[in-house]
Symmetry: D2
Subunit: 394 residues, 4 copies
């Protein structure tokens, strides 16, 4: 049983609270901090939290704060983490960990040096579909991973600070790309070094300084490629999809807009309002248990279990730092228009991996290119002569 302190009473703080209550869990929120008293009080009332405060350090230091969850805007993460370090409180921080890898690395090292448990709240790496598919990949079901793409697009975030580039530290890349990058890393292997990033980003629709649409490619040392597609300009709801190609298989995950739940409403039957949909009539695609499909309950189970067992959670501050480093390279690439190297002053994974050979022996003198059954029943084998390089069909 863990007594929880949440820092931040806004959208994401409430989402975290809702993921923790109503499920007969043994972990309870005991302390809530918010900048404005009204927010803190409302939160405390809504979720039966005994203590509330508008003084962050008071909240962190509170004896009923056994573990601290940071649900604050990006620009406050580091200060909040440092308070936890100061008071030796285990800390879980929402995504992205920092606005830059520099920030994230400072947080990571500060916790490590202080011996403070630190978990990175990367919910989309805990969705039921994602956990099962990573397990399948690890079991070899799709062979060697060649490409892992993650896409998150929707019509734009909820809170005003997201739209302020100083406070947010970036736009759609930082807000959404952090998920996508970590999803790809999980599929490709967290031990594999990300080498360089190419990114296109633009402000196509929103009147803001940050990007509202971006596409990026991340090269990994083993030859695998990661891809992210992020946008705040998408129309039609929230599009959350992952796709993985392996030498022996394929994975397609749709986590939100097409999950086997479809509803048509003429709009004349009642005042039904669909969540996160842009409309409340016509064809609607609700999600059964939104918090669960987005990974929140699984994430907290892993975090609290790891904390109690003294192990590391699946997603750590170190992971958050690697993600920030990749996004830093993406931002730089969007400006320089070059493939930018990922700067990782600290790297704990493997080094020196190389891309596996593409040559597969057919016989002593030939490599196999392809075997195929044609529509007319003919069977083809396409071979390449090892010496002459000649390609022929048999």
């Amino acid at each position: 049983m863990v007594k929880i302190c949440i820092l931040g009473g806004g959208f994401i703080g409430r989402f975290y609270a809702e993921s923790l209550i109503g499920r007969r869990g043994k972990d309870l929120v005991h302390v809530i901090y918010a900048r404005r008293e009204e927010t803190a009080r409302r939160f405390a009332t809504d979720y039966s939290v005994p203590h509330f405060s508008t003084d962050m350090e008071e909240a962190v230091a509170h004896p009923d704060s056994e573990i601290v969850i940071i649900a604050l805007p990006n620009y406050v993460h580091e200060a909040a983490v440092m308070l936890c370090v100061k008071h030796k409180k285990p800390v879980l921080c929402t995504k992205p960990l920092g606005r830059t890898a520099e920030e994230a690395l400072r947080m990571t090292l500060a916790c490590e040096e202080a011996g403070v448990f630190a978990g990175y709240l990367e919910d989309l790496c805990y969705t039921p579909k994602f956990l099962k598919s990573v397990k399948s990949v690890e079991s070899g079901a799709i062979g060697r991973v060649l490409w892992a793409k993650s896409r998150e697009t929707h019509p734009g975030p909820h809170s005003d600070w997201f739209w302020d580039i100083e406070k947010a530290g970036g736009g759609a890349i930082l807000d959404l790309g952090c998920h996508c990058v970590e999803i790809s890393r999980n599929f490709i292997g967290k031990e594999v070094l990300p080498l360089e990033v190419m990114c296109w980003a633009d402000t196509q629709v929103k009147p803001i300084d940050a990007e509202d649409h971006a596409i990026g490619l991340v090269k990994y040392e083993n030859g695998a490629i990661g891809q992210f597609e992020v946008s705040w300009t998408f129309r039609g709801g929230m599009d959350l999809r992952d796709e993985v190609m392996g030498t022996e298989g394929t994975i397609w995950i749709n986590s939100f807009l097409r999950t086997g739940f479809e509803m048509f409403s003429s709009g004349n039957g009642g005042d039904y309002v669909a969540e996160k949909a842009e409309t409340s009539s016509g064809w609607l695609f609700p999600v059964g248990d939104e918090a669960h499909e987005l990974g929140y309950p699984n994430m907290f189970v892993d975090m609290f279990d790891a904390f109690e067992k003294g192990t590391q959670p699946r997603e750590t501050f170190y992971d958050g730092y690697v993600v920030n480093a990749i996004l830093d390279a993406a931002y730089k690439s969007a400006k320089t228009k070059l493939w930018e190297p990922v700067q990782l002053p600290v790297w704990r994974g493997k080094r020196g991996l190389s891309k596996p050979s593409v040559y597969k022996d057919f016989d002593e003198n030939h490599w196999l290119i392809k075997e195929e059954l044609l529509p007319n029943g003919d069977r083809k084998t396409i071979l390449k002569d090892k010496k002459t390089g000649e390609i022929r069909t048999t």
Copy 2:
């Protein structure tokens, strides 16, 4: 916090246990009963259950049995419930409640008379998609419900007693139809009286005495129609789908085979085995969190919450009895080939509902049949003269 006793260490008992553990829940299994000691012991080990027994009454009476979950074959339900009544233990019974409405009514009344809390473990009425869609229907999103179909088909059950008509009390109708009937009742309204049932059933593939395939229609007093399609002969996995038509909308739920998770595996990459799939290569459709998608966690939350608050759960023994009564009529109809009345010696819902009028005024002299926009841009209004009955287009 509730201390749980599970009666039955087989497939469903294990499924229940797995739905309760690993989620940092506060409710724990303290006692396990199984007929064979080996089964009980293995279960106790696998799920860290402190007490096990091969004596059912001993298990029920155990001081650490605060609530009893019956996960036994159908023919033992009544005896197990009566033990709970005897020892005044709150009881949750798996589906179907009885083999017949007569059995189910006896259990229902015995618990009520003894003041024993009794919950009906109808998991598919607790899936995330189902709960949200019922809420939408109640909010009026699809208007008046006209038809509610539920389909459950798969290649056949796991345990041998299912295949013995004496022990199971029936075949696919009882095993799967109980889900479908209660799903339809929830959509149409539990207070609406089921009037009569028409059912086709046959043994098409399996060498058994019971039916392995059946289709049934249930007429309700308000003019709505329920439909169930059940089979133990389906190929391709487990097909769980609900469809609802209302005057203002439509709901389609796919709970298992198409939930936004698709995987192709050549079969050469590892020894991956997909659960409940018939194959482990080719295109596979895993479910993210199977227990959650099937409603188990939500079901136990509702049951334990209701128990602690002293209220009724969503699904009660009385509901189980109504379901059994509808299935009794279905079995009778499959034999007599007639629409058979549903026999409900006890009925606590509404009576005297009638089908709403289909006539909608267009103006003083006409009823509106249909308005339509044709592909060529013409707009049509089809009217019926109230006096002459003449139909015309304007």
Copy 3:
């Protein structure tokens, strides 16, 4: 090359014409008949038809009428066919062939006796997906067919005469059920005798005398079951789905609402109007080539090819008559609430088929019920003792 005469300038006549033109086909419409001159003239202009007439016999007898397509309301089919017989003109008649089997049989025999080529325009038995799936079934891909369901529901037909039970001969059963019944027959085998029908029908929403919603079951002599679900009360577009269960496989066809084409429109971008959708904003599901997906081009190719080769088309007047006989039984059943026998005074298929045995040898003393791989890796074989009937797991 065939010179075509179309009788009927309404919705379906225009749909036929549009399926024939614009594809560089060699068959052209030369004559159009419509009751009202304005309709005939407009049709002739729109589709470049050289001759138009308001006199049906004149149109049929016209020297440029090499083949006659009847696209008229149900109550005029027989008279139109008899004109073709009189003038010895090959005739293709839209669905349903008759309002009753009696009508349909008279048309069938009249053509046969006169040696007049007669094709039944059952378009949904010519959709690309249907043709390929029937071929798969015939090749054995899904084993023996156990159940074949077809569903057609939408918010109601286009023309006013459909709503007049005298002119239409019925409601949704006749209008839509004719498709569904013939689809099931194709999957189960046209040579298999349909024995009896159980049907529920009701008028739930529309102010009409005919049924606007019905569900029917059709028993076939070989133990297979056909099912139809038809409605004029569906909300959300046109729902066209077929499902087939066989001993070795499953087929699911979605012909209209979910075909891999999805569009979201805020409705602010232009005056786009989606066809057959109930809305023009929100999520929309257009069909690529509507006429092709509905089978029209394939149907006419088969008809004209058969006519020129002197063979029978896939769908004949005789098929139309069998369909009518099944629907007659459905209508009767909806009234009597009994399984009604299908009355087939003329039957040219097989007789005396019986349901295959469900018993499969495991060894000399046992039948095999089921083999299964459980989630925990255990493998189960469920057997039945041939003598004692005892069921056990090994």
Copy 4:
């Protein structure tokens, strides 16, 4: 009516022939050329072609060659086109037009100077779904196009010359990317200038010199972005998907693997072989009418209609040249790792387009960022002060 000469008796030539026959079309193949006599003879027999030849010029010059279809490997396109120019024969050439823009431009100009009708056989720009979606975009249904992605991946091509980089001119980029690029151009607007291309390409699996996997981004002058994803390493069949984001909507097209046709086969029922699938059992996803879904019939209708009317077809040699120019830049970028400018010595579209402003007035002093309805019912308006740049929520 057109008399057709096909150059090339291989996979694509046969596919073209099959798209032309069996549909009662008036256009017939009269001449077939193939390099090997056996191939030419077999083709002539299979498709009832009166003349065959192993001399390309003889075939082109044949009096029954009214229009010539080039279905030859990439490295022969230019020579074949020049023969058509020499003999003044209208010519249709398969994709890609050239191996490079230089080749393609020579072909384009040669035909124009000679006054020879020239059509570019880009079938995927003629699929029923594509044509309808382009029409929707043009009608404004999704507003201004921001991003248009096309993806084509499968396990590798059929003929051996594809695997020889000299003959093919390239790998997956040239083979598949030509489709994707032209699809994006159609959505974004053919008159919009493509500026520069960034492309990642690698040889991940196949033992070849060319790339078997590539991802590219194409910047257009109006701020829209095109994206292509191509691979010969995909497992699971052929993945053909287009996605478009606009300011007012979204389009998702799946042309092959998920089109509403699903089949499960245990593999025990017969020798059914699914086309283009990698397996013949398990879950299979056939396409109804493959040629039609891939656009062939629509393509030839447009080509022959345009030829007869003396107009231009939707896809011209000039389009093929623009596509080649974009692909040239992609190949260069894959090597230089830079955004490479698209070299278009001839450009007939618009110049000087600019990205529309992202600023939308809310009132005199503010720009509107976003309006939103939160789950708790609160409505938010996020504004930006025009002078101070301050962002706030009201």
